[in-house]
């Protein structure tokens, strides 16, 4: 993995909600195979940044460029979320958004939607191609569930899972879309320290085994510090710092705005 390509490049991103400027002139880049953390106080605009990148919001200004590891670059502005996903970027949500009355496996299977083709006729006739595709989808989904450790829950309804498991299911669902860039919005929220450690390991495995780049929003500093290669810090919609975890952790502005004085040991 030498000569790392930039998979995502965000330039001068700004987003206004009515009079409120939630993001102003944010620059962001992620290299192939990196784990980048995006941190900042509540309301700094992290989630908004995700929403702009994934096409849920249409940014007021700025450019978003996605470049696949194969080197194909696409400007994302103005694309619909499903188009963005098709290009190879997937996300999870801060407030879990599963399909509650579908089973765990079906949730993951839905993720494969944009990578499969069978249509209505195929579904009705169930020809060989459709059947094969279906088997592929089921197997792949099952593998992903195994990866996140939910293989004992395949037939449970998503809504019946415990909170932490739901977060992991969201990750599996996102992975099912075959992304090369994964966006995680506070994956450790609501998890106890033990679960958080397991999650850290999961994220690392995803990066290593699936060869993925990851952009992560997280408030759990222990997690951020231990797994990210680089950290970007937002405050009031502006980037105030960028660097390795150690650099950022020592940055007085970041300490003042976000971490607080005795942050690092908390």
């Amino acid at each position: 993995m030498s000569a790392k390509t930039i998979v995502l490049e965000v330039k001068n991103l700004s987003m206004n909600f009515g009079g409120l400027r939630a993001l102003s002139d944010v620059d962001l880049d992620i290299l192939q195979g990196e784990i980048v953390a995006l941190i900042g106080p509540n309301g700094a605009g992290k989630t908004t940044c995700f929403n702009c990148i994934t096409g849920i919001y249409d940014p007021t200004e700025g450019d978003i460029l996605l470049r696949s590891p194969q080197g194909k670059g696409v400007r994302l502005n103005g694309l619909k979320p499903n188009q963005v996903t098709e290009l190879g970027m997937a996300r999870t949500f801060q407030n879990i958004r599963l399909f509650p009355s579908m089973t765990v496996l079906e949730n993951v299977m839905l993720g494969t939607h944009c990578r499969t083709k069978s249509g209505i006729l195929g579904a009705i006739l169930r020809d060989r191609k459709t059947r094969e595709e279906e088997v592929r989808v089921v197997n792949k989904s099952y593998e992903l569930l195994k990866l996140v450790g939910l293989d004992h829950h395949v037939n449970d309804l998503a809504s019946n899972l415990p909170y932490g498991a739901q977060r992991r299911l969201e990750i599996a669902r996102a992975l099912a879309t075959d992304p090369f860039l994964l966006l995680l919005d506070e994956p450790a929220a609501g998890m106890n320290p033990n679960e958080t450690i397991a999650l850290e390991q999961l994220v690392m495995r995803i990066r290593d085994e699936l060869d993925m780049s990851i952009l992560l929003i997280e408030h759990d500093m222990k997690m951020v510090m231990s797994i990210s290669d680089r950290v970007h810090v937002l405050e009031y919609g502006q980037k105030i710092a960028e660097g390795t975890p150690a650099e950022v952790g020592a940055n007085p502005q970041v300490i003042k705005a976000y971490l607080g004085e005795e942050a690092v040991d908390a």
Binding site: T47, N51, F93, Q94
Partner: protein
């Protein structure tokens, strides 16, 4: 110009009639997100109650104005009671169920109430006495605006203002808004949610009762089916204005009334309902939450 004015007031009357019913619709929708198809039936029951009161009092020889007052009061009392009971029987046990279940329950309730009145009274059309005598000062304008129309317009406007103030400034009004947005949290803050919902039905039904009596005075006849079409139109009006919004219901109803009136006047009444519904579709395509409705704030 005169023709335009005449059509204008025709539209205003129609709009006010729709508004009076639409207000009740929109309130109930606002709080439990239920399209209460039986609301039109409450309106119909209001008209029938009014007729019965009028019949009894006429037989006893009361003057028209007194009859109107008593009829309104009794209709309000009874419609409130029906609204309250209906909520307890058909909707309350369904809280927390699938959103469509209460809708079907409401359709069932509508069929039930219609046939209940049919059996208890009659399937025929009945004449409704005009309890609102012609005002003298209106004499010269009678060709534009009848006094019953004037009363309807004024009452509707008053009802809207009163309701808006009530919801905005009273404690119960605040409780209603809170309940509408998050029932569980409202409970956690000490709001008696059951009472709030009951009250909503009572207020909505009272408005329907007033509407029933006044509109019957205007049309001069009632029958068990009047609730259905009025209900559909009123609901259309409520959605047009932004369902859940009180000024919206009023505005939507007026827009609907004017559309129908002018479409009839300048084009043809053959298609007046087509124009009404066509307008609805158009407006919702360009303003998906209705004229005054707020787009739901969805933070992802």
């Amino acid at each position: 110009m005169e023709y335009f004015l005449e059509l204008f007031f025709g539209g205003l009357t129609r709009g006010s009639i729709y508004a009076l019913i639409a207000l009740g619709y929109t309130m109930v929708y606002g709080i439990i997100e239920l399209i209460n198809f039986a609301h039109g039936e409450i309106y119909m029951i209001g008209a029938f109650t009014g007729l019965i009161v009028a019949g009894v009092l006429t037989a006893m020889g009361f003057p028209a104005l007194a009859i109107l007052a008593v009829a309104l009061v009794v209709a309000v009392v009874y419609c409130s009671a029906y609204g309250y009971t209906m909520e307890k029987i058909a909707y309350k046990p369904l809280r927390g169920a699938n959103r469509l279940s209460p809708l079907i329950s409401a359709i069932g309730m509508s069929i039930f109430l219609q046939n209940y009145v049919l059996l208890a009274q009659t399937p025929n059309f009945l004449p409704f006495p005009n309890l609102i005598g012609e005002f003298e000062f209106m004499e010269d304008y009678a060709h534009i605006l009848g006094s019953a129309n004037l009363v309807i317009i004024l009452v509707t406007a008053a009802a809207m203002v009163a309701l808006t103030l009530f919801i905005k400034y009273t404690r119960m009004g605040r409780a209603m808004r809170a309940t509408a947005q998050n029932r569980k949290m409202a409970m956690l803050l000490g709001v008696n949610v059951d009472a709030v919902i009951s009250l909503t039905f009572i207020i909505g039904s009272s408005l329907a009762a007033i509407g029933g009596v006044l509109i019957a005075c205007h049309t001069g006849q009632i029958n068990i089916t009047i609730g259905f079409i009025a209900g559909i139109k009123a609901f259309t009006a409520a959605v047009l204005g932004g369902v859940g919004s009180i000024p919206g219901a009023m505005l939507g109803a007026l827009v609907l009334g004017f559309t129908e009136s002018f479409a009839t006047g300048y084009i043809s009444s053959d298609y007046e309902d087509v124009f009404a519904f066509g307008l609805l579709v158009l407006i919702l395509i360009f303003r998906p939450s209705g004229l005054l409705g707020k787009a739901p704030t969805q933070k992802v």
